[in-house]
Symmetry: C2
Subunit: 95 residues, 2 copies
């Protein structure tokens, strides 16, 4: 079953640039993972410093593998302490 993830990250004002860099760095290696179907980064048009990932994974296992990769662990450490908000939703498309 395809699993979709929407991850919302609101950077602290003083870390917007650092968070932006870390976000861009994780995109390519994530897209190259076997189970990744889509990995799009967005910025919020009304709230500067807020970024949103829309991700599609072939299965829950593929997402678990992603969360165990070196590039994901490095990303987590890079953004540690630099966010005012982090919301991660795991979703199933129903229509």
């Amino acid at each position: 079953m395809e699993v979709r993830v929407i991850a919302t990250l609101q950077a602290k004002p003083e870390f917007v640039s650092a968070v932006n860099d870390a976000l861009h760095e994780i995109i390519e290696p994530s897209r190259q993972e076997l189970g990744n179907l889509q990995y799009d980064l967005h910025r919020d048009l009304e709230q500067p410093g807020t970024f949103v990932f829309f991700e599609r994974w072939a299965s829950a296992e593929a997402l678990e593998k992603h969360n165990a990769t070196e590039h994901f662990k490095r990303f987590v450490s890079q953004i540690d302490g630099k966010l005012d908000l982090l919301d991660i939703k795991q979703l199933k498309k129903i229509a």
Copy 2:
């Protein structure tokens, strides 16, 4: 410029079914709008009663037209008073 929308709706426990029906009702007419590129409905796998739309619109004007349609106005009236949370983000894909 393509505009993307992520709309998160958390139904009050007693209105999950009514909100679910209203959400499904607005999908087809929205997909038939000229400027709509994608209009996917999801449910949150970890939070029952939470639904998320992922929408892609050809332009800000297309989204404005959508918000003025009869089916959108009917949807707004159908969910009025039935939500614990409504969050609508307008996004631009940056990578």
